[in-house]
């Protein structure tokens, strides 16, 4: 039972994280405004909510531009998800983009970031500006709701742990490879190979799930993005590793050459992945000027669940590697017995 605890732990963590990922409700949010730009003068906007119950509230609607608030002078609730609001927009708003805010009594204040473009800029409005809605923090446990993500934010607990697990397995492969250079132990060579195999499985799952998710949010199966380029290079490197192994017949030589390539490629890949986001824009949170787990991406309350998912999947990956490694050991022992 002693060697089993971490496997139970991994499965438990994945189970808890998955249940949380699928069952946690989505926070109510404002997801769309019918107008893309606000011109000075009266503007009528239809606001679309998600998981909201506007009919049970008496919502107040605001536009925020550079810290200045404009309250809607006419608000009409159409149904639980739709409100029509009229704004008298003053001249001279100073920022490019305005946010839309809907303040409710029980669901707090919801904000649609950069809802409107402001075509005519000034140095700040002088009239028609009011106090903003009260800052209310939601205290319930919910996924944040973003207008391009909706329910698909739940993928966070499935897609991202794949990459973490892949990186862990590649690091294990690196350790095995360094050991091969030192000792020439054939078992460690097989361990490195097994770790690369399992890491490629997780890379494949990460790529496929990422591709699906990207199609649903960004509109393309593959986007030219720093993180995607990093992933592609990683997969190419480890496929090249397998090709290199396939082209050498002598086992001892194969082990050594593969280990050298693994160490060399791993270090350069690491530098690449660290440097790349600084060079290119990215759609992913946390890079290229995008906020990481802040603002609208992940509530603090959900962060432990996310880490549970990462740890759990790492455990599952290690378990798969453990099985492969033990199998390799049996194969080697078996080959030895036969040759004698």
């Amino acid at each position: 039972m002693k060697q089993w605890w971490w496997k139970f732990l991994a499965v438990g963590l994945v189970l808890i994280a998955s249940i949380a990922a699928l069952r946690t409700p989505l926070a109510p949010a404002v997801v769309h405004a019918s107008e893309g730009a606000l011109k000075p003068g009266p503007n009528t906007v239809t606001v679309l909510g998600y998981a909201t119950r506007f009919t049970q509230e008496s919502p107040r609607v605001f536009v925020e531009n550079g810290g200045q608030f404009i309250a809607a002078d006419q608000v009409e609730v159409l149904d639980d998800r739709r409100i029509t609001a009229r704004f008298l927009v003053p001249e001279g708003l100073r920022e490019d983009m305005s946010d839309l805010l809907v303040s409710t009594t029980t669901q707090g204040t919801m904000r649609l970031f950069d809802a409107f473009y402001n075509p005519e800029k000034g140095s700040g409005a002088l009239e028609g500006v009011t106090e903003g809605p009260p800052r209310t923090e939601r205290t319930d446990f919910a996924f944040p709701n973003r207008n391009i993500l909706y329910e698909s934010i739940r993928n966070l607990h499935f897609h991202v742990p794949m990459w973490f697990t892949m990186m862990l397995l590649q690091t294990i492969a690196l350790v095995f490879s360094i050991s091969v250079l030192g000792s020439g132990n054939p078992l460690h060579d097989r361990g490195a190979l097994a770790a690369v195999h399992v890491s490629l499985l997780f890379a494949g799952m990460g790529l496929l799930t990422g591709s699906l998710w990207a199609r649903a949010t960004w509109g393309g199966w593959w986007t030219s993005d720093a993180k995607l380029n990093g992933a592609a290079v990683t997969v190419l490197i480890y496929l090249a590793y397998l090709v290199l192994r396939g082209s050498v017949n002598d086992p001892a030589k194969r082990a050594r050459l593969a280990a050298i390539y693994n160490v060399f490629a791993y270090v350069l890949m690491l530098l690449f992945i660290m440097a790349l986001p600084r060079m290119t824009a990215s759609l992913h949170p946390g890079s290229g000027g995008n906020p990481a787990f802040s603002q609208y991406d992940l509530d603090d309350s959900l962060r432990p669940v996310f880490y549970a998912a990462v740890l759990g999947w790492m455990g599952i990956g290690t378990w798969l590697l453990n099985l492969q490694y033990r199998l390799a050991r049996i194969e080697i022992a078996h080959d030895h017995a036969h040759h004698r």
């Binding site: 949010t217 290229g288 199998l327 049996i330 194969e331």
Partner: protein
């Protein structure tokens, strides 16, 4: 590319994609029915299925290797 332009670009992208995503306009029908369906929950279904299939694929591979050793030990 400076930070500022990057942020601008990102904002522009959000503005450009937000309306189309909200009502899934200009998307092919089969995608609206599948991937975008029910508040995009179907994307989650697809992602979870991919992971399960990946693990199943691994089980098959492992099964084959074990079978090969069993054959040899006989």
């Amino acid at each position: 590319m400076t930070m500022r332009t990057t942020v601008r670009l990102f904002l522009l992208l959000v503005v450009l994609t937000a309306p189309s995503a909200a009502f899934a306009q200009g998307e092919p029908d089969w995608l609206v029915d599948t991937l975008y369906g029910s508040g995009k929950i179907n994307t989650v279904v697809a992602v979870v299925s991919v992971i399960l299939l990946g693990l199943a694929l691994w089980l098959f591979r492992l099964d084959r290797r074990i079978a090969r050793i069993e054959q040899r030990t006989k």
